[in-house]
Symmetry: D2
Subunit: 321 residues, 4 copies
């Protein structure tokens, strides 16, 4: 334990360092102002992010894409044996039947479900799912809004129904393969080229789905499916940000390429889309039927399961054509 006198001297020395440090920090802060990513463009109190792009006009634009009355279920069935991350679990049980009093012999079954429902199987990532340090979308600090009983901000119940124009980009076909190679990073150039090949454009508020072919491993080779995956990189993600989409989905488990080619980064595309831009992710989709039928433009419809304070949502989006 050092004495009081030497401590006071030590403090004085710290002062000199502090003056210098303050100068440096103030300059650095100026440089970082270009990186200031909140408040969001929808205001400091917004909790819906890019869902705000879905206006009645956008709904009508999407509705007008429905010309055949064909409905594709783009989500997967939840069942034992599906790939799951880490120690997440899924359990469904049918309890003993209940008999209802009466001469008409009514009898019924319930089902009991347990699991990380917003983060297993086909899953929709909400804005409270992933952040940068403690900061999430709109600068919300997780130490304040993440409570045991549910998120008090950015809960999935804020999103509301999504009824918008959907676009499928078949990157596998563009590359001439059934399945993109392991850990292939889809680039902005890939997206542009696929759009050109498919004679399409992306418009603000769209739901953009990426077909990588990786989904064919689902419940066929769960180990390979989960170890890594092709997916969009930061460049492609920035392209989608610039196009002002509402949602990016894919037939892999994380939408983004994993691991990131820059191995010092973990889930940077999640951060770019969710935290910085309020753009949603839809993971573990089944885009095979759309790709097979070359259905590239459709009404994308999804209503997040409104579990109050949840970070994500299970459920199957549909593509209607």
């Amino acid at each position: 334990m050092i004495g009081l006198k030497s401590r006071t001297w030590f403090s004085a020395m710290v002062c000199v360092a502090l003056v210098i440090l303050t100068f440096v920090v103030s300059r650095t802060a100026q440089g970082q102002q270009a990186d200031r990513w909140y408040p969001s463009r929808w205001g400091a109190n917004d909790q819906r992010g890019a869902a705000n792009r879905i206006t009645p006009a956008k709904v009508l634009e999407a509705k007008n894409l429905i010309t055949r009355g064909t409905v594709y279920q783009v989500g997967r069935t939840y069942e034992p044996g599906m790939p799951m991350f880490g120690t997440r679990h899924y359990s469904l049980r049918i309890p003993q039947a209940f008999k209802i009093a009466g001469t008409n012999q009514a009898i019924y079954h319930d089902d009991l479900v347990s699991g990380e429902l917003g983060q297993i199987g086909t899953q929709f990532d909400g804005l409270g799912h992933l952040g940068i340090g403690d900061l999430f979308y709109n600068g919300n600090n997780r130490t304040e809004f993440a409570q045991a009983d549910g998120l008090t901000k950015l809960g999935i119940e804020n999103v509301g129904p999504l009824f918008t124009r959907g676009v499928l980009l078949d990157i596998a076909r563009y590359k001439g393969v059934a399945q993109l190679p392991d850990t292939y990073e889809i680039t902005a150039a890939d997206l542009r080229a696929a759009l050109q090949r498919q004679n399409l454009e992306i418009r603000p508020g769209d739901a953009v789905l990426i077909h990588t072919g990786w989904g064919s491993l689902w419940m066929k080779d769960n180990t390979k499916y989960g170890q890594g995956s092709p997916g969009i990189g930061l460049g492609a993600a920035q392209f989608l940000v610039d196009e002002e989409v509402t949602l990016v989905g894919a037939d892999n488990w994380g939408v983004e390429v994993f691991p990131n080619p820059n191995t010092s980064l973990g889930a940077p595309v999640h951060q770019l889309l969710l935290a910085r831009n309020g753009i949603y992710l839809h993971e573990n989709l089944n885009t095979a039927d759309l790709a097979r039928d070359s259905v590239y433009e459709f009404a994308y419809i999804f209503v997040p399961l409104p579990l109050k304070g949840a970070t994500g949502s299970p459920g199957s989006p549909i593509a209607v054509r």
Copy 2:
């Protein structure tokens, strides 16, 4: 213990009774043949029931009702404090955050959910939910298909997306009240009168939603909400069967009147709709916004959460206009 001799005599006596009984039973069986409710009209192997009525043409009919781009969320938020039946439960927890390795400080939250998910809150009853004795839709015997790991037949994953014409019948307004009286039985005449007042007709494949006003008790007076409720009786249900609807929903917990005016019957409307006719029920809806805005005709869109082998589904249907 009676002796062998007296037993043989007893058997002989039983024979006389048996001959008479056989005669009586054979006649009764003839009478019951009019009541033979399976196989279903969609064949002995069908598991989708009235969802089969939603054809591409029906999808287009529904889509053409979308003229304003307004989306109503007709389901309720799942949260602690919502009314629940018996010992069913709902729990959502946000576990400790996970940190992802990397210089970019990615951090994420999961959510852990547990409950009778297909049978709490806004819920969609599948064909494996309720039966008559051991027989369910299409004569399937529950002792065969109801397994601990999930229903091996009639599971909710068989239903598929529902995109159809929706009709709201505001019975409360027709009766000139904000809320129908406790245990009021809505009759076929009520439905016909409301249709006339609203200048509407029901068509095959429709989703018919009933506004009783009972939903205003939700989380306001859970005890009253759950003790009984106004709802459709057998007559109204038969009318909807004859109109060949796909689904009946309401802003109460069981769609049907409870208790049934015939107190010897328990949940007879469930049996008529689900088991005998493959028509789905959508319970605990929030129809107040539709009623307030007099939105009586719309596209009803719902995708049951495809939990393999489940008896029902949570989730929020939407009414798009």
Copy 3:
């Protein structure tokens, strides 16, 4: 459809068969009386089975075995990665911390657990767990007592604390191996020989634990652990029944040999012990420390977790010496 007349004739013919059948059945029933396994020796209303054998005198007998004050924990830790049967699951999560109002900064964690708790990891099988057809211990019919909310009879809460003399039979050492061969059936002769080698006797009310060495595969080779296992066969089980034990435990997943050498039988030892004799099973024990230290006689203490209406119990018995 046959006519009424021929039906009446048919019934008459059935009568002849019936008289004969009645005669045969009455004789067969006499033969089966030797197999009548209920009511139990503790009366028709008993729900505790062989736990009744633990009297205050038995507690004192067990207590007198405690001479060193050494406590062995004979159960295993519950954790992800432990072997589990079929689609059973185990999940533990630590939710976000709760802060308590006050200047003293109290903060706390809960834990959220989900799983087939009475039937995963170290588990104690209650009398409501397994039966013969629909009949369980004391002839209770599962269609009556097995309700969705819990068993209304034979629930684990009826057992009460078990404090009795425990005996470890080290069959592996008797056979001169570290681990009994796959699917080895332990016979009554094996038990007798091991008792002789260990210079011990079994007494009424004892908890008999079997060391097979199979437990060394736990979380080392779960696949092998669960595929089959050495264990007691029907002969050894009958020997233990005759010795009037209260409980049989082992370091394998089912106590009994699996598969049974008579491949037409599934879990027959469970039926003999639980259903016919009210004797409990304790599975997935860790008997390695007892075997290593040659601790063959001890106070066995276990309190089933009193989950009302449960079929079994998790938890770690102790052997005190």
Copy 4:
């Protein structure tokens, strides 16, 4: 935004404050050293706390109290309808029965359990349950050891079996009432007087159970039971700390008086016992039978359910006499 020049000046001013602050802080730190509560007396790496007091000699001391062979179950049954704190839940369901292949018709039931198992019903608080700010027993920081999959330190599996001398202090009888008044603070003087009345002493390593009579409200008046409760205050807790007990239990929900008479404090007794002294709490006990029979000294036996990384444990301790 202030200019760079003024910022540098500002820093200089901060320096002066800093020098003064350093001086003050260094003195204050000296004063607080008396309050330094970690490392624990069992070393900086200890995770078992006062369980370390239970030596083989202590086990033998406890065993010698067993003279009649009477076993009291001091825990409560877990069931729907028991009082629970906040949004914690408990659910048990019996799934559909499983049939095992074979001619012997084996059939079995599982049970599915979900809930905050270590923190509902009769519960044993581990050292990872509650802390002071972010600091828990032995100075462990919760931001390091509290992980989603379980506590990586202070998990309940570290405690091990507890077999020790138990003492019941019947404070209600000492006060001449069946039930202590609402929010009555039990003082050190009360404990001493009760000990004298019961002609007992507390010894190091003991499990001390407090009978308040509050337990008679269990499932009779859950609202009253949970609103507040009589219990020990800081003075009584410090007395028990000084007596070097291992565990304090009571027939109320938090052992300590609630709310604390010093209303600026939340759960201070938990902090004193768990965090500062590694002494465990056992809550929601049923001490009525012991009190009725005047059983004041006994072997207290409890094995925490070893759920890896859990904060507490369910289960029923026993008092053996």
